[in-house]
Symmetry: C2
Subunit: 336 residues, 2 copies
DNA sequence: AGCGCTCCCGTGAACGTTCACGGGAACGCT
DNA sequence: AGCGTTCCCGTGAACGTTCACGGGAGCGCT
């Protein structure tokens, strides 16, 4: 019946003033009616509400936010929402934010540094704090976030203003390699994350662990961040090193792709090829065989990040670096 | 060096005025410096920037948004971010929003009507439009969104102000049943979505399709919205009806759980039990055997929703109901 | 000297809402 | 009648920023 969008008419913003005039009252009365406050007669309240509806009035969140500064919004930046790992972290962060009554704006950077920059630039004027994954140089992040609290995940920080949640997989990866060695594996390969310039930290953990067990550490190939990428990488690895009997992967997505590829190649898992992933995704439980993985507590990861943001925002008692750690530990299943 | 959060000191908001005073210039000059505008000397600009940094100044997004109303934020409401289907839709929506320079606030309602209400209440003053899944009565949504454009997904709307993206799986489900019948299946069960009061639309499609093929339509059990739920439901179904040779499921998550359960029960898929899911998740490609599914174009779904929001927001030329449809079609793989 | 132009910079206003305060009307009580 | 109380309602101010405008200083040219 009431159409607020007649084509041709300028949809000029209708303000609280217009409603007040239409209802024959003052701004304040309109405000009272809309915010369910006291000190207003029931009939006038109804009249105001009707007028507001008729005009299609909608309060400006900016004006409202300006006068009562109670809403906090934090920006969550992740490389790829389609990767279940980040989804799990995001879900945990969302929940933690919700209990605080906060809002979360989510940005997907598609794992590209360029998108990160663009996001940062636009985010800085839209949120009160930032938490997320960044691959671009820290000083760039610093540049765009001017004075805003920032919590980095899975990455060391060098700037004082930043906080970061450290992911400690050293022991977990060590356990994984130890497990493989105990099962008699001596030729262990790795499917690493492709694309980054420097070798991944997870690879360093693997290399160190393998070396400490006297296992060759040379058989590493890069993989795309996807199941297909993992499959292709496994193929390359096995072509180059047919004697490999076990693989450790950068993450579970790649591991799952490897699992599938192994099946196609007729390699029995875990008998002829053991596979251990990293992340501990829930997804790992539905594939066949279930994925053995160096598992991360994604719930805690997301919650911890939000917790630290909360402390930084209020300025009281921020967590120290030692408390900002999430340890990964080996979770055995069928694939190794 | 400069700590903006000395414990004990009130972290009182530092405004553009403070920066101006500190740098010995006017507000406007500060504004010019921070927004990279012209008409400002390079040295003063630098001085202002330094002062701003020293004070830990951060412009108020509310004040800024109030005066230049160019940023639009839309709220995306989904039942469960951990369900890959919604993740895919969310990712598509995020991308579509990004190309328009919009921001997206994501809310996870945990599939509970109560959370939906809370979210709506809080969302209404935070975004310019809403798109998402809602299970609560439409008039409640109407109540909380007063005049704000709303795009519902996967649900019919009756109110004029709303738009909704219709998911049309009728033909797709029909094809699925036809496929099963052609393969000789006559005892076809379904694992439906549990929890809703009324039977799901997907079940109605299934019932109609099955009936039109002269197949019994009585063998339906409810399943929890998870892989485990799907497994448990399959067990119940097979216990009650051991002669079932094929199942259609409410969605792919449930189907994947069923797949796993079938393996545990020693039922060969697809020879002894054919499984067809709904959604067409990318996830379906990594399980064994790959999942046959009535597939939805999630990308298009998310993009379409954002597109319609854009039109509603500008008030010009909104899409008609006939264009707001995403059709599902059978995508064959190994499981049926 | 006078004029115009460019380069900087500052002042009032506006954005749309809520808060603090004041005040009129009606009513009851002494 | 006078006074206090309750119930409504309205007015100025404030929130922090940007926009539109005005204007001074310095320079070059006639």
């Amino acid at each position: 019946m009431v159409s607020s969008s007649v084509p041709g008419t300028e949809p000029r913003k209708v303000t609280i003033h217009d409603v007040a005039r239409s209802a024959g009252v003052s701004r304040q009365t309109v405000s009272r009616a809309l915010n369910d406050k006291d000190e207003i007669d029931h009939s006038t309240k109804q009249r105001v509400l009707d007028a507001a509806r008729a005009l299609g009035y909608r309060p400006s969140r900016f004006a409202r936010g300006l006068v009562r500064q109670d809403t906090t919004t934090i920006g969550l930046v992740i490389p790829d929402l389609l990767n279940p790992f980040f989804t799990e972290v995001a879900a945990a962060a969302l929940e933690a934010a919700r209990t605080r009554g906060w809002h979360v704006v989510v940005y997907d950077t598609a794992d590209r540094a360029e998108e990160e920059r663009g996001t940062l630039q636009v985010i800085s004027s839209q949120v009160d704090a930032v938490v997320g994954y960044f691959s671009c140089p820290e000083d760039e992040v610093e540049l765009y976030t001017r004075g805003m609290p920032v919590v980095l995940i899975g990455r060391e920080h060098r700037t004082a203003r930043f906080s970061s949640i450290r992911i400690d997989g050293e022991q977990g990866v060590h356990s994984a390699v130890a497990h493989l060695v105990a099962r008699g594996h001596t030729r262990i390969g790795m499917l690493d994350h492709d694309g980054r310039a420097e070798p991944s930290v997870r690879r360093e953990w693997f290399t160190a662990a393998a070396a400490s067990h006297g296992v060759d550490t040379e058989m590493v190939v890069g993989a795309d961040q996807s199941a297909d990428g993992g499959g292709a990488a496994l193929k390359r690895l096995l072509t180059a090193h047919p004697d490999v009997t076990a693989v450790f992967t950068f993450n579970d997505i790649i591991a799952i792709g490897a699992l599938r590829e192994a099946r196609r190649l007729g390699r029995n898992v875990p008998q002829e090829l053991a596979v251990i992933g990293f992340d501990g995704l829930q997804l790992g439980a539905v594939v066949e065989p279930p994925l053995t993985s160096v598992a991360l507590d994604t719930r805690r990861l997301g919650a911890l990040a939000i917790e630290q943001v909360a402390r930084l925002l209020t300025g009281v008692d921020p967590l120290a670096a030692d408390d900002l750690v999430v340890r990964a530990e080996l979770r055995l299943a069928g694939s190794a």
